[in-house]
């Protein structure tokens, strides 16, 4: 409770910084007026430019950061639970690289330049194709093998990674396209708008609600499939649904923000080390941790650094060493996995 309240406070504080600070100077009072006017609680005069900057620029960017961080961390928690592998992350069955290939293809073939939603749709389409492919390969006679899922994921990661590299290689000739692709692959929240929120909000809400429905089963699955079966858990249904929801969250997050590394790996571990392995608490609290991580990484990139550092790069730069510290400090606690 203390941790979740702390994280919620951190996220709200992040909202204050995200909405009040930027290249355009806007007073806190004006930000409040904009927000209140939008929900019909303020009838006074609101500056049109400030209104647009706060409502159409800073707020959607903040919400995208929140939803992306939440999705990646929640997806990472599920993957680590299902595969009983502390190194599992949202990309373990190839969803991330599938989404990345979709997005890079949309950029290379010029679709992304024509519409804001073309790139996210391509990313989501490719992540779903990946998911279906993984399941079709790993499922025989109604039984889905976890080991085959993992191995298929590794193979698809390699194939999609190679295809993405091929497209990058072709795009180096197209200087501008190449730069856009490389920037996108680094994870970027620049100029995110309500259209992006409209894509990632439903995927996050739908998948989180679905996950919460099966989260008790996930706890039992972590003990072992035999025990779970004895306790009456419908293993294929629970596991496949959780994988589907995790993939939807990952695909949605990558679709609007690019590849943001380490959040799905780091946040579950941090929270698990503090509150233990109960996924009923772990999924939402790790989600909040992931959201806070991405929000503050984006704030740092946008307000402090202001050069070409991207959110995805920063999360990896910060996440890597922090993860090492966690491993050393909580070695014993990870052994239950």
């Amino acid at each position: 409770m203390i941790l979740s309240s702390f994280l919620a406070g951190l996220v709200l504080l992040g909202a204050f910084f995200a909405l009040c600070y930027g290249s355009w100077q806007i007073e806190f009072r004006s930000v409040l007026h904009v927000l209140l006017a939008r929900v019909g609680l303020y009838a006074g005069e609101v500056d049109a430019v400030e209104n647009t900057i706060v409502w159409d620029g800073r707020l959607p960017r903040y919400l995208v950061a929140f939803l992306v961080g939440f999705s990646l961390a929640a997806a990472g928690t599920i993957m680590q639970g299902i595969f009983k592998n502390p190194m599992a992350d949202p990309g373990v069955i190839g969803i991330s690289s599938g989404a990345a290939l979709g997005a890079v293809s949309a950029l290379y073939f010029g679709l992304a330049a024509r519409s804001l939603v073309a790139l996210p749709l391509a990313a989501i389409a490719f992540s779903l194709v990946t998911l279906v492919t993984v399941f079709l390969i790993a499922t025989t006679r109604g039984h889905t093998s976890v080991a085959t899922l993992l191995l298929t994921g590794i193979a698809l990661n390699m194939i999609f990674g190679a295809l993405t590299s091929f497209i990058i290689a072709m795009s180096t000739r197209e200087f501008d396209v190449g730069r856009v692709i490389v920037t996108w692959l680094m994870g970027d929240l620049n100029n995110r708008s309500w259209e992006h929120v409209q894509i990632v909000f439903p995927t996050t809400v739908l998948a989180v609600l679905g996950t919460l429905f099966f989260v008790k089963d996930l706890n039992i699955l972590m003990i072992g499939e035999e025990t779970a079966a004895n306790l009456g858990v419908n293993i294929p249904l629970a596991r496949n649904s959780l994988l589907l929801f995790s993939s939807i969250m990952t695909g949605g997050a990558i679709a609007v923000a690019g590849v943001i590394g380490f959040v799905g790996l780091l946040a579950p571990h941090m929270v698990r080390a503090l509150i233990g392995p109960d996924n009923r608490k772990l999924v939402p609290i790790a989600g909040l941790m992931g959201a806070a991580f991405v929000i503050y990484a984006d704030l740092f990139v946008r307000l402090v650094v202001q050069v070409d550092l991207k959110v995805g790069v920063l999360t990896s730069i910060l996440g890597g060493p922090f993860f090492l510290v966690l491993i050393v400090r909580y070695r014993k606690r990870f052994e239950y996995l």
Partner: protein, 347 residues
Amino acid sequence: MRMKWMLWIPVFLGSALCCLSIVQAEEQVCAKTPLDRDRLKAELSLVRGESKAQPGWPRSVRYVDRQYDFRTDTFAEEEKTFEVKKKPIRIIAHAVGVTEILWAICPRERIVAFNDLAADPKFSFIPDEVRRRGPIFRTPETELVLGYQPDLVFTVFYSSVEFKEKLSQAKVRFFDLGYFGTMESIQYQTLLIGRLIGEEGNAEALVRLIDEKIREIRERLPQTGKSPRVLYYDENGYVPGRTSNFTSICEIVGARNVGEEQGIKSWIQIDHETLLKWDPDIIVVPEESHLKNLLMTNRILSHARAVREGKVYSMPGIYLRVDSQYMILSANELAGIVYAEMGKTSP
């Protein structure tokens, strides 16, 4: 197999993507330019002139090697000497800009092969001419370059070390050209190339022609007393600064590059909020990016003066990547765009 229904999801999303890609073509702005485009290009593509002083062969060419370090935003200058034993008659350029300069000042039979980018209309102003003339080699095809037995190869700072090493091993003379980012530096390099290949008369004539055309463009521009503030914004939100060729193009037409004005050195990515804060008079976007429609419908940018007044123009990317005498063509285009609304330019 229970998951078969999911196959329809990507199919549905794919169809949605296809529908999205069928968008109306952007309205192309073909502004009236101060100088006639075709005539200007023809003039800049073939220049001949006499030089007063023409030293014989072998010759020592003294020059200032000027290299830009984007990490520190500084120029390193060093005086060097290059020995040329005899007049080069089998010349190859490893970059588009150098090829374009050679095309104008060097007898064409002495250019024995062309880099493939010089045959690409997205990068070169002479793609058809290059394709007709040939042969063409791809950038990594070092063996092919050696096979043409050049006696002088022009390389640039981004030519790979391996390529230069191969040339050295094959005892092929190569000359590494320096900074090309401004009109002045292009003129300096043109004169240098002229001396290296024994065509200083043509090189001097090209430099004079460039000055003359700059003067002509400026004379035909309306004297408004103020410099329009122009911002170049690409599909990823990148803006060029002081050392980019866009600054030079703006200077020629009496405009100000907003990126330079804001203290940007080479390139930097900015968000829409910053663009609104800088509030340029005119925004130029690369034509291939289809960015114009996106900017014109962006809610934040709807408050920007350029968007409000409909002064967002697309320009083929080639004009913004140029690093040869054809920068005059870019300036001519930009002049047409910048002063389009005044309707005072005449060909």
